[in-house]
Amino acid sequence: MQFLRMGGYAAYVWPSVLLTVAVVLLNVHWARRSARAALAVARRRIALQRGADA
Amino acid sequence: MSARVPVLQAGLRLMSRDLRLAMRRAGDWLQPLVFFLVVTTLFPLALNPELSRLRDVAPGALWVAGLLSSLLALELLFREDSLDGSLEQLAISGVPFAWLLWAKTVAHWLLTGLPLVLVAPLAATALGAPAAAIPGVLAALLLGSLALSQLGAIGAALTLGLRRSGVLQAVIVLPLAVPVLIFGARATALAIAGEPIAPPLYLLGALVVLGVTLAPLAAAAAVRISLE
């Protein structure tokens, strides 16, 4: 409890920490999503090309 | 094969072409100047028109108005030339492209920056600056507008041919112009307060030197990319 109260600074410390953790996790999510999207587009192209070649 | 023109002369030729073109369309080139005067008029109307109070905001008002008007004037720098294909011809003229763009930027400054500097005493007086401050205000704006036109050339070159380029150009140029704004407004404030203005003026001069040497290279690279 003492820890959560942060010596009276809880209203400033915890939002800062939460925001930072959220942005850290969001960035992981965004990075993976963008990499996956690029992979999907490349796959689709290759499938199309193979279809055209066959 | 006939003799090539010395590089210096090629730049002067281009500059005189731009000046002559501007003479045929004087209205276009007056707009940024009028804009500057209109914006400086707005400040007393929005604030307290008492001259002693205005004196405090005068440097800020002058510089923000000058910055916005120089941004507005950028449209006249490369746009026409890019639309009618003459920028392309300049790019393959065999004369160093950065030099030609530098010449164009100087002509542009003569047409938009210098008039602004010349009417600034009027605006400064209207905002409560004493007569003794005028030389300092002039010096600061002279250097500042030179630096701004070099920075602006980069922004104009980067956004050449893009949709809604005006806003994008502002977002690109304004943060880069912060040092000019800080030193320029400070020099103006010191001039109005009757104190020595040398330190911010030197810093402004350094920015001009940096801008004049490096900005044309960046602008030339950006224009070439936009021509692709």
């Binding site: - | 006939s2 090539r4 045929r24 009618d84 393959i92 065999g94």
Partner: protein, 211 residues
Amino acid sequence: MTTPSRPPHLAGHDLHLWRGDRAVFSGIGFEVAAGVCLQVTGPNGAGKTSLLRALCGLLPLERGRVQWRGAEVHADLGAFHAELAYLGHDIGLKSDLTAVENLYYEVGLRRRVDRAAATAALEQVGLGPAMHQDIRHMSAGQKRRVAFARVLLCACPLWILDEPTSNLDAAGQALIGTLLAAHLRAGGVAVVATHQALPLPAESLRSLVLG
């Protein structure tokens, strides 16, 4: 300027050009020697304009080499441009200046020209009294003629012309053909993108078909 040691000669080897993720052309090659004109043809969108602009160094090639007088163009782009006259899609004339003024200012960047020389070039393309009009008051065909006069006045050994005869009447087309032939006879090189038959002898005409 140093006198060029080798004769005019333009060559492209294994040229590949991409726009976005689409290959405009790939594996193009050609050679044009002094006195020869390369005529580039192909359907719309085959990349004629792109090829010409890439040869000028305005468009980056994905792969391949362009050589002028046997040397890599990109090694000294400035020297190459000094010998190049390009007539593009956008003619690059200022509409607020007269034809004479346009030539005086634009060609004046490259070489010494006076008004007499500019006037002479404009007379060669048959512009006559219209040359003292502002470009904005001219017809599309007249503007093309002015742009062609600029190419003449540049006095460059290499011409790269993109549709030089568009908007021109029959007399104008014939005139361009004659002037082009004279340029080749004088030892010049030309690359021309056009569908019009060029009135040139077979030995001075090469063809490159795109698409």
